[in-house]
């Protein structure tokens, strides 16, 4: 972490001025992502429907991770941290999930994660991605069971009109999905890798896309 000299007296004023206003502590993150079983490990399950659901359950370790659900909220407000508390500052979905006019997501979230250098004791980085936005409300995952999310992902009315092949492509290669494995300093990544996750989704689709 590079150090910067901030010559202005404002820093002292500001430190006392704003210090008690909010808490911005991040996760106590695991530095390494948790393991994710590869699709090949499920071949021993002979019943196709059981194998299919077992594959989705494994993918669910990613899908239901707070890193993913935080931006699939059931309300107008995104969530933050492993504790999934409401986003601070208090922001709203806005048009296209891009935030409110005058304070869109890119007021703070740029094209890449940014290490914080102005005050790095409790907040290590600001997350970013070129496509940073909330999932549409019909794709809300917050508070839902994995089986409910599974049916939702398959439903073109609630998945952006995608076929299962397009879902597989999205899960395997989408950059914002991939951010979950590269969430920046101070954030726990989702389990495994996007490649393994994509293979699980592909195998789930190939085995009939069972939802329980």
């Amino acid at each position: 972490m590079k150090k910067f000299v901030f010559a202005s007296a404002a820093i002292g004023v500001a430190a006392s001025f704003f210090a008690a206003t909010f808490s911005v502590a991040q996760d106590n993150p695991a530095e390494q992502s948790a393991p994710l079983k590869p699709a090949a490990e499920f071949q021993s399950i002979t019943d196709a429907k059981q194998r299919s659901w077992a594959l989705f359950e494994e993918a669910g370790k990613v899908i239901q991770h707070p890193r993913c659900v935080n931006c699939h909220p059931a309300t107008e407000r995104p969530l933050q941290t492993m504790a999934m508390h409401p986003h601070q500052p208090p922001v709203s979905r806005g048009e296209g999930g891009m935030g409110m006019p005058g304070m869109t997501c890119n007021t703070c979230h740029g094209a890449a994660n940014v290490s914080v250098v102005g005050q790095a004791e409790t907040l290590k980085s600001i997350p970013g991605n070129p496509a940073w936005h909330l999932a549409p409300i019909e794709m809300a995952w917050e508070g839902k069971s994995l089986a409910e999310i599974c049916r939702q992902i398959k439903d073109p009315e609630r998945n952006g009109g995608k076929t299962l092949a397009e879902i597989t492509e999205h899960m395997t290669h989408d950059s914002l999905v991939g951010w979950g494995w590269q969430p920046g300093a101070g954030r726990e990544p989702v389990p495994g890798s996007q490649a393994v996750f994509g293979e699980l989704i592909a195998a789930w689709v190939e085995s009939g896309a069972a939802c329980q």
């Binding site: 910067f4 001025f17 704003f18 007021t107 940014v114």
Partner: protein, 152 residues
């Protein structure tokens, strides 16, 4: 070397590319109207306009500003800015004033996209700008007054 325009003038910076835009504005360009509040994009005191959109300059690496247009409180202009300035003065919005340049940058950005905002619009745009003097009611009133003034 990073090149950008600051309040309409072409500027360049060849220091550490991770240097936050706020540091460049205040310490190198000596424009101290933009304030350091929290350093983590939580208070809004450092708000500037980057290519016409609000941006927290404390968490904006200067390397990401290359080729962009930056406007600070010293350079903001146009009918929305003039209306906001007049409205702020008319009802004495600031108390200590520390957060006010950020408040004004957000207010002007809101009026540029939503000329006649309702209370919910104002809350949506201003929720990220904290004021420890709690001048929120005057800020909201001044934005309404500025919108009315622009409407004529």
């Amino acid at each position: 070397m990073v090149t950008f325009t600051l309040n309409g003038k072409e500027r360049s910076f060849d220091g550490d590319p991770d240097t936050p835009l706020l540091w460049v504005i205040r310490d190198f360009e000596k424009l101290t109207g933009t304030k350091y509040g929290c350093g983590v994009a939580q208070c809004g005191a450092c708000t500037v306009h980057l290519d016409g959109m609000t941006r927290r300059s404390c968490i904006t690496p200067i390397s990401t500003v290359d080729g962009s247009e930056v406007i600070t409180i010293e350079g903001i202009d146009g009918p929305e800015a003039k209306a906001v300035q007049a409205a702020w003065v008319a009802i004495d919005v600031p108390q200590c004033g520390y957060c006010q340049s950020g408040q004004i940058m957000s207010a002007v950005a809101l009026l540029q996209v939503t000329p006649k905002p309702n209370d919910a619009d104002i809350d949506g745009a201003m929720a990220g700008n904290l004021c420890r003097c709690a001048t929120y009611h005057r800020i909201r009133q001044a934005i309404h007054n500025a919108a009315d003034a622009m409407e004529g």
